[in-house]
């Protein structure tokens, strides 16, 4: 166990080291701090002097060590666009992304568990087949397309006139297929509650929550099919196991077996795989935030790319890398702790 612990943690440090090397290479290869600092009129000698002073002529190793040392002290340089420390900029944008991820996670948990369990208990029911079919189709729809369809349906609204509107039921059918629209599809709204630090929350006001609906549903839509399939597969495996059969033979009620005995052992792998998936959700936040102009770190990163704001790109890489490494290491450790015999394989992107 101790060897496993040491191995995982040292691997986490190694990965972080590699990420910092990549980040440094990007900063070194793409950013010329001089161009941002001085104007056109500065002569070549003066430029050379500033370069020397900034240490840009030092050997690579020295420069990397300086970069890494600063990074460890929480200094990842200043953003060109915001003229502020990059970590401060990220801290301002992080709460929005976190709330989006929390909203999506809640939707995933409250929908995938009941649907997955139902599909496992009654695999032949038409409703199970319907859910499984929908999740197969759902996996094939990219997250930004789901978001666009949701905007069309629930923000802009659709008026249908396929049926003759002079008859009563024709009008009723038209109304049935039409959608109202009106849900906000842009940003977080202007009624945010200030919690602490840079955290402004949309969870406590009506408009804040309304603004959260479409982005969280879109973000949840990409993970939901995966979780439904995972829970169904795990649950079906557990239902085949000896202890469940024994419980049946003993005459326990189906509800007790399914929800007390089987569900517990289903959720164990689901929670750990889920931990990894929630880390991966960060990648999808970039897409979701772009569609909804959600002012989180994903949109900030994309804007930093279009503005060639190299320090901000680098800082984002380091922060996201750190989040990934921490979640993955924790998940691995928990998994190793709870179930030392099983290896984590087959993670899907």
């Amino acid at each position: 166990m101790l060897a496993f612990l040491v191995q995982r943690i040292s691997q986490a440090f190694l990965v972080m080291f590699v990420i910092s090397m990549i980040a440094f290479a990007i900063q070194d290869g793409l950013g010329d701090p001089l161009q941002e600092m001085v104007g056109m009129s500065v002569s070549e000698e003066e430029r050379e002097a500033i370069r020397e002073e900034l240490g840009l002529n030092d050997p690579m190793v020295v420069q990397y060590l300086r970069f890494a040392g600063n990074a460890l002290q929480g200094d990842l340089g200043n953003s060109y666009f915001y003229s502020k420390p990059t970590l401060e900029v990220i801290a301002e944008h992080l709460p929005a992304t976190l709330e989006l991820v929390i909203g999506a996670s809640l939707i995933i948990v409250f929908l995938s568990v009941p649907i997955g369990v139902y599909a496992a208990i009654r695999p032949q029911a038409w409703l199970s087949k319907f859910f499984m079919g929908v999740s197969t189709v759902g996996i094939s729809i990219p997250v930004f397309l789901t978001a666009i369809v949701l905007i069309q349906l629930f923000s802009i609204g659709v008026t249908v006139n396929w049926f003759p509107s002079d008859t009563g039921w024709g009008q009723w059918l038209n109304d049935f297929f039409s959608t109202e629209g009106g849900l906000p599809s842009y940003g977080r709204g202007d009624e945010l509650t200030h919690l602490f630090g840079t955290w402004e929350s949309g969870f406590f006001t009506g408009t804040g929550l309304m603004h959260l609906v479409l982005p969280s549903v879109s973000l949840a839509s990409i993970m939901l099919p995966l979780f439904i399939r995972l829970i169904r597969a795990e649950m079906m495996e557990v239902l085949q196991s000896d202890y469940v059969r024994y419980a049946r033979a003993k005459g326990l009620s189906a509800g007790r077996i399914n929800f007390l005995h089987a569900l517990k052992n289903t959720m164990l792998p689901v929670i750990t795989v889920g931990g990894v998936q929630i880390g991966i959700m960060v990648a999808y936040t970039i897409l979701t935030e772009t569609v909804f102009q959600w002012p989180g770190v994903g949109l900030m990163f994309l804007e930093a790319i279009t503005r060639s704001d190299i320090p901000l790109i680098v800082a984002y890489l380091m922060v996201v890398g750190l989040i990934f490494v921490i979640t993955n290491t924790l998940v691995d450790l928990i998994y190793g702790l709870v179930n030392p015999t099983v290896k984590l394989t087959g993670k899907k992107a």
Partner: protein, 310 residues
């Protein structure tokens, strides 16, 4: 012509593969739809009513015309036009072509890398295996899309917009291929580990064949069926990744659109009511990815490689 081809055809007709294909309606429909889309994409220059790359054929007066069946439609543009006045049917045909090209290209690249690294890791074992699989693990834990976005961002920042637009097809094939190789490498490694214990490998070793020959001529052919299955699914993944990158502005430029960049350029006009510019290419993308995924599921059931994991 010769008896060999006839007998091969006969053998195919009597195979389990063909038998199960004939009996699976989903597989037949998916294959038919995919074939239709691939043919339409390949022959796009012949089928398309207009050439979307040719600026002389575009008239800005025709912009944002709705598809046939809605009021204000022009029968010359069956699916309507986009914001620049390009015929949507033609841009979709050409866009499907670009998307498929990138999808296939990226999978060829990742299959090359994945097979090479998977074979090396599985057959040689030891340090080579440890290092290669660690890299694969780390890359997968970051999710392939994230890796692709970051590599794309760095390329775009270093090449500049114009330059990147010109070589975007090759860049995207490279980015997606490099981002997704671990998926194939893992599958290959797992089947190599199972194969290398078998007697025919021992026999080959006893006969004095070199490591390279055993790896590529003896083991590789026996690992092809799981590779085939995962490569099919990976084409769908690559097409989605390409669409996502293009949607973020890290992919194909608007002048040479893929399905993803069509969806992106249409999205700017959705608030003004022109839903067709973004939703019709979107529907084409979903159908394309869905039929490939369904075929992949069917292939997996037929070939039943135990080691494949979605």
């Amino acid at each position: 012509m010769t008896t060999a081809t006839v007998s091969r055809w006969d053998r195919f007709r009597e195979s389990f593969f063909w038998y199960s294909f004939k009996r699976d309606k989903v597989a037949i429909v998916s294959f038919a739809v995919l074939l239709l889309m691939v043919l339409a994409a390949v022959f796009a220059p012949l089928l398309a009513p207009a050439d979307p790359y040719d600026l002389a054929q575009i008239n800005i007066m025709n912009s944002e015309l709705p598809p046939v069946g809605m009021s204000g439609a022009d029968p010359a543009f069956p699916l309507g036009t986009d914001a620049q006045g390009r015929d949507l049917l033609s841009t979709i045909l050409y866009g499907t072509r670009v998307s498929l090209m990138i999808g296939f290209g990226a999978v060829v690249l990742q299959a090359f890398l994945g097979i090479l690294f998977g074979l090396l890791a599985g057959y040689l074992g030891g340090k080579v295996d440890a290092v290669l699989m660690r890299i694969a693990d780390v890359q997968l834990s970051f999710s392939t899309l994230m890796v692709a976005i970051i590599v794309g961002a760095v390329f775009k920042a270093s090449f500049g917009n114009l330059m990147f637009g010109e070589i975007a097809i090759y860049m995207l094939i490279f980015i997606i291929g490099v981002a997704e190789w671990p998926q194939i490498a893992r599958t290959v490694r797992a089947s190599v580990l199972a194969e290398k214990k078998k007697e025919y490998v021992d026999a080959a070793k006893v006969m004095g064949f070199g490591t390279r020959r055993i790896m590529f001529r003896h083991i590789l052919p026996n690992t092809l069926s799981p590779i085939f299955v995962i490569a099919t699914v990976q084409i769908a993944n690559a097409i989605i990744s390409e669409a996502a990158l293009s949607f973020l502005g890290l992919g194909m430029p608007e002048t040479q659109p893929s399905l993803g960049s069509l969806i992106k350029s249409g999205f700017d006009y959705i608030q003004s009511g022109s839903w067709w510019i973004t939703l019709i290419p979107g529907l084409v993308l979903v159908v394309l990815v869905l039929v490939i995924n369904l075929l992949g599921d069917w292939l997996r059931d037929v070939m039943n490689p135990r080691l494949y994991k979605g």
